[in-house]
């Protein structure tokens, strides 16, 4: 009896404590931080981290435009961050409180999106590239170093119904534009139309536009070739290994170039805990914490200090850490203005209907 009562009291005390705790609100990508990292930060700051997730920049922007608030930290990709900066939605960083900022590779600092990194600290990056079932590709004699394999009927014939592409207006257009030799950020309508025709010609061979379930389809062996994100393809390979499949899932950066999405941590203007948020950013700049994410999901890592904690097979994977020659062909997507968005949406409708 006495024992139970004490336990109850203890519980009350604990829950009372939990209520008094500071809470850091993090609005992040799905599966974009390791649970251990979060737990360690919670212990260190004696606070609680509350997370909400998005699976698409556009979704995050649309939700913020629709009035979502209360987030301390958001992790947008460059173009979305640019839009947030221009909306005046972010809080400038107090860099004196970020001593570990020096860990970041200068190649990822001072981007066109946020000159001088007034608002943002690089978190991780992904590449949009070609993922494939290595055995099948070898068997069919298909090239894996070019977008042609996604867009050219002479290759597509061999993998009809076994390909998925991303269900994202920007990403798919970027791949098509790159293949045509244009910049991924080209906004000339004639070039967009050329890209549209290329996509419409290839579409009959594709199984679906897909946002994320291609990970599973690759693992199972239903789909042999995808236009997808580097970390998703990494995940598919891990899953295939775990399931004891007889094939491996590989990825490669096409020689025409690809999209690099650098995600950065930023402070939302209305976040109630800016101090805690800065503490979190500096915590994530620690090489060990940063490497944890890369080891978990196979994301690219802009943190130089993290390299020594990253598993060698990941650090040496050219689809995650591309060599300088491939890196030169990588592009980050810029934001579109309202007229461009409307035109692109129309082109997308044409792609879907035709």
């Amino acid at each position: 009896m006495n024992h139970n009562l004490r336990a109850l009291l203890l519980l009350l005390l604990l829950s009372g404590n939990a209520l008094a705790e500071d809470v850091l609100h993090l609005y992040n990508w799905n599966n974009y931080i390791s649970a251990e990292t979060v737990a360690r930060f919670e212990q260190q700051c004696a606070c609680r981290v509350e997370q909400d997730y998005y699976s698409d920049n556009e979704e995050m922007l649309a939700k913020l435009a629709a009035g979502a608030s209360g987030y301390d930290i958001i992790v947008p990709t460059g173009n979305a961050m640019e839009s947030l900066i221009r909306q005046n939605a972010l809080r400038p960083l107090d860099k004196s409180r970020l001593p570990r900022l020096k860990n970041i590779n200068p190649a990822y600092l001072d981007t066109a999106f946020d000159p001088g990194n007034k608002y943002s600290v690089p978190y991780a990056y992904t590449l949009t590239l070609i993922g494939y079932n290595a055995e099948k590709m070898r068997e069919l004699g298909l090239p894996t170093d070019t977008w042609a394999v996604i867009f050219e009927p002479k290759y597509l014939e061999k993998v009809k119904g076994r390909i998925t592409v991303l269900d994202s207006q920007r990403e798919l257009m970027a791949a098509a534009l790159k293949y045509l030799g244009y910049s991924a950020n080209d906004t000339i309508e004639a070039h967009w139309k050329q890209a549209r025709d290329l996509i419409i010609r290839a579409k009959p061979y594709w199984a679906a536009f897909n946002a994320s379930s291609y990970i599973k389809e690759l693992t199972v062996g239903n789909i042999w070739l995808v236009h997808g994100y580097s970390n998703d393809i990494f995940q598919a390979n891990l899953d295939a290994k775990k399931a004891g499949r007889k094939f491996t899932i590989a990825a490669s950066v096409p020689k025409e170039g690809a999209v690099l999405s650098l995600d950065s941590m930023v402070l939302h203007k209305n976040g109630p805990q800016p101090g805690l948020a800065l503490q979190f950013i500096d915590f994530m700049l620690d090489g060990k914490n940063s490497a944890e994410l890369t080891n978990l999901i196979g994301s690219g890592n802009p943190n130089l200090d993290a390299m020594r904690y990253i598993k060698p097979e990941i650090a040496q994977d050219p689809a995650i850490f591309p060599d300088p020659q491939h890196r030169a062909h990588l592009e980050m997507l810029r934001d579109l203005d309202r007229n461009q968005r409307r035109i692109l949406s129309r082109i997308w409708t044409e792609i879907k209907l035709r």
Partner: protein, 303 residues
């Protein structure tokens, strides 16, 4: 009016407003007003980052105020008319398949002994007890490449020498789920109508020498037209605005008006154009209701 009558009327009027007032005000606020706002939004410019551009701006160079721009954009390219026609066709196909599947069932229930009817109706309604998404998800499993159904279909095709087909992520998957989700909407009004038919009519027809087919085609079917029309309305209208089914089960070409509207609000951040599309959808629904009502009355006259 005498003063006595007025006194009697006053509390009655008070009661009337006390009863109808609250739901009236609530729906005015949360149904009618949002509709009006949507109409207004369709005449505005999109905000640079989403939402709407301001009505008035200090700097005359920034977009503000009202415009016909979205309507001009809508008619500037046939693609939008095309997507409406496509949605109309999908809704029509769904309605017809539902009708063909629902009719025998409704007829059977209506002609069953009274005791059994309630149970049979309940059996039609029970699938409603599962949420809409689950019913769609069920087809994701059934049509998946490893599912027995797909294996069977492809086995048959293989015997015939036809290359295997992918059932999931295809127009076929979209259509079958549309039918599945809306079938009860067709069965119930049909049954309610068929149940009321006087069996003496059929006996009379039989006495006049009409065979089974004639009895159905000349007596039962024309009498059931009102049921067919109300069932069709209940199936057609929701299908016309559907986005979730193409979203989950559709392949590379399955986009309907609903998907386009959703995209304007959640991806493109173009609220004015999304509003315009919504208004066009409303007009399409009204057009359909009008056609159905017209057909209902002219047919009714001959019946």
């Amino acid at each position: 009016m005498s003063s006595r009558a007025r006194k009697l009327l006053a509390p009655a009027r008070l009661t009337k407003w006390a009863v109808s007032g609250p739901p009236f005000v609530f729906l005015l606020l949360f149904f009618v007003l949002p509709g009006v706002i949507m109409v207004i939004a369709s005449f505005r410019y999109p905000g640079e980052f989403g939402g709407l551009a301001p009505l008035a701006a200090a700097d005359p160079n920034t977009l503000h105020g009202f415009t016909l721009e979205t309507y001009r954009f809508f008619f500037s390219d046939l693609i939008y008319t095309e997507i409406f026609i496509k949605s109309f066709l999908v809704a029509l196909a769904t309605t017809l398949i539902c009708l063909v599947m629902a009719y025998p069932l409704a007829l059977l229930i209506a002609r069953s002994p009274k005791k059994r009817r309630d149970l049979m109706v309940l059996l039609v309604i029970l699938p409603f007890a599962s949420s809409f998404l689950i019913r769609v998800y069920a087809w994701m499993i059934l049509l998946g490449p490893q599912a027995a159904l797909s294996q069977l279909a492809n086995g048959l095709l293989g015997v015939l020498g036809i290359a295997p087909v992918h059932l999931l992520f295809s127009p076929f998957a979209v259509l079958i789920a549309m039918v599945y989700v809306h079938l009860p909407f067709m069965v119930l009004p049909l049954y309610t109508n068929l149940e009321k038919h006087d069996p003496n009519l059929l006996d009379a027809a039989q006495d006049c020498g009409a065979n089974a087919w004639h009895r159905f085609w000349r007596v039962t079917f024309p009498l059931s037209l009102p049921g067919i029309f109300s069932g069709s309305t209940l199936v057609f209208i929701p299908v016309l605005g559907m986005f979730a089914i193409p979203d989950i089960l559709g392949g590379t070409g399955d986009m309907l008006v609903g998907n386009l509207i959703k995209e304007q609000f959640l991806v493109t951040r173009d609220w004015p154009f999304g509003s315009t599309l919504s208004i066009m959808l409303t007009l399409a629904v009204l057009l359909f209701v009008w056609i159905a009502a017209k057909l209902g009355t002219t047919r009714g006259r001959y019946a």
